[in-house]
């Protein structure tokens, strides 16, 4: 069975090559992507969305095969740079250093995501406890150790906070969630910005009792197993967090408002940077200005090498990415993972970047 599949695929491939040669000869670009295989790897946060996309995309584009795997944003970046995969998925945009070293690498936003700050406080998980960047930075650097710390109590009047040690949970693996969480701490807390800074993996300050967990699923189970813990979790896991009856915190934004991640607040964060997004679209949405802007939101990126080895691969990538930022941004896909669509101006910028692939 497998053999037959392989043979028929080989035949199709050969057919595709023949068609291509012909198409090239007569200069018709329209049929240029027959039986092209694209491989995507990277962000585990973006992976569920790719999985929802693939059947519908291949239904309209039967000539393109798309294989998806979930590894990690770091792997997505590294493997697309090396040309091992055509599409790298990442929650973080490429750093200046990488762009300088590899000027052909593009960071193309595909959708908008956010992150929740969750906690497990017996009896209080129904309350949306308020937390700020400096308080979270204090917790994650071991300076705020008790739930009834005066700093936390002061912004949560009426809530009886327990006199219990806080257990901060961080990701051990390289993660876009760590990237945007530490970016929030850096943007809101100068002391964090000058010491720990931000990245997909940071040098977490030593906190007695602090735990490292692997992946978003690991964060959810560690939070559930540890009452009095606090964790940062990608919004695509919001359903699981709700199912486990864990608490969601209201987070203080740049304008001093405490907000939950909703379509309105995350959308406001996206809207606030539309006009400042540069042509290469490498920009942080974290701690965006605006009264309604949720502070921990981000673009989900496709990391693409603009110089592809052949034209049919390049045009297949273009076809897919164009589909992803238009039809793929329909709410019927995005609501399943709690993502939001790109604003129209950003779709235009992404399309301009997509056109550079050849």
């Amino acid at each position: 069975m497998k053999l037959i599949n392989k043979t028929s695929r080989m035949a199709a491939l050969r057919g595709g090559v023949a068609v291509l040669a012909l198409a090239g000869a007569i200069g018709a670009a329209g049929v240029a992507h027959a039986a092209t295989t694209l491989v995507e790897t990277g962000s585990s946060l973006l992976y569920p969305l790719f999985n929802i996309w693939v059947p519908d995309f291949t239904a309209v584009n039967p000539g393109i095969q798309l294989t998806t795997t979930s590894t990690g944003s770091g792997a997505g970046i590294a493997q697309s740079m090396k040309g091992l995969v055509q599409i790298g998925a990442s929650d973080a945009y490429l750093s200046d250093g990488i762009v300088k070293k590899h000027p052909n690498m593009l960071s193309i936003p595909l959708a908008i995501s956010a992150q929740t700050i969750n906690f497990n406080l017996p009896g209080l998980n129904g309350d949306n406890i308020k937390l700020t960047g400096p308080i979270l930075a204090g917790i994650y650097s071991g300076k705020i150790t008790m739930w009834n710390d005066p700093k936390i109590a002061a912004i949560n009047p009426g809530i009886k906070l327990p006199a219990h040690v806080i257990i901060p949970i961080h990701r051990v693996d390289g993660s876009g969630d760590t990237f945007i969480f530490t970016q929030y701490l850096s943007d809101s807390t100068p002391a964090w910005a000058s010491t720990v800074r931000y990245g997909t993996a940071v040098s977490w300050p030593a906190v007695t009792g602090g735990i490292g967990a692997n992946g978003n699923p690991g964060m959810v189970s560690a939070l559930q197993a540890n009452p009095y813990a606090v964790a940062y979790i990608g919004v695509s896991f919001a359903d699981q967090v709700a199912k486990d009856s864990l608490g969601v915190a209201k987070i203080k934004n740049a304008d001093g408002k405490f907000l939950l991640p909703t379509a309105t607040t995350v959308g406001a964060a996206a809207d606030s940077i539309v006009t400042t997004t540069p042509p290469d679209e490498r920009i942080s949405m974290v701690f965006a200005k605006g009264a309604d802007a949720y502070p921990i939101a981000n673009y989900e990126y496709a990391i693409i090498n603009a110089k592809q080895p052949d034209t049919d691969t390049a045009s297949a990538i273009q076809t897919f990415l164009t589909w992803a930022v238009t039809s793929g941004n329909a709410m019927k896909y995005l609501t399943q993972v709690h993502f939001l669509p790109l604003p129209a101006a950003i779709v235009t910028l992404s399309k301009t970047q997509i056109a550079k692939i050849n």
Partner: protein, 312 residues
Amino acid sequence: MGAVMKIKPFRLSLLGLSLLIPAALGAVVLFLLLYAGQAISFNGFGFLGGVNWNLGNLYSDPVMTRGVQVPSGADYGILVFVVGTLLSSGIAILMAVPLSVGAAIFLAEAVPGTIRPVLSMLVELVAVVPSVVFGLWGIAVLIPLIGTYLAPSGNGYGLLAASIVLALMITPIIATTLLDALLRVPRENRESAFALGATHFEVVTKAMLPMVRTTLVGGIVLALGRAMGETMAVVMVSGGAINILPHSVFSPVSTIASFIVTQLDSAQSDPTNMAVRSLAEIALVLFLITLAVNACAKLLSSGALNVRSRQH
């Protein structure tokens, strides 16, 4: 004349094949040395003694430090992971040895020959359970148990959980090697000990165990190698410590292997490559530790401690 000149193709091909394994090993060491070379000279001896591991700021321009381009603030110290590796596998061995010696003696001495194959097969089966399954069991069963009943902070992730999971994974390795050796102890030894009026306990401890000491040490070394190199199960239950040394069995730890696998993704986005090179240097350290353990075991099993060598 003809006999001297005769080329023996069979022997030669065997020689070639047998050299493949040491060649592969040599290639790995060579690769690690070459790849980690720059990191070794950058990190110096502080590498082993440093508690802090910091990839530096990957989102700003690299800076020139000690003659090489590295991300600003980059500082690689691996004491936490070396300690985590040695402690977790050490405690695992302490738990696994009595368990597996007991199991092997039970299977060799207390079980009828007809049931023995079935039971020993069950023990062997435990050895082939994928480590991720042990990790899942650890998360679902062990961590809530430790968190609820043992840990003062209520947190089950840490050194103890990692050690217990490792102990379970290596127990069958020691038990099956020991069982095979016990079954090969000559019947005469056993029976003459009984004839001298020894109790069953004395027969086992005085007549049989001394004869299988070498095998036991060998089994422990194999198990230790497995425990120190185990990755996935440790990642899942150890609580992934960074920049902090454990102060009790309930403290989160990281082992060398678990740390390499969790850091590699981010290290790859370091434009100067120093992070990946430093990870290669950690791998080299792990390699040297396992080598040292093996050398010690060879000394223990062949040297002065091995008073009786009547097995062969």
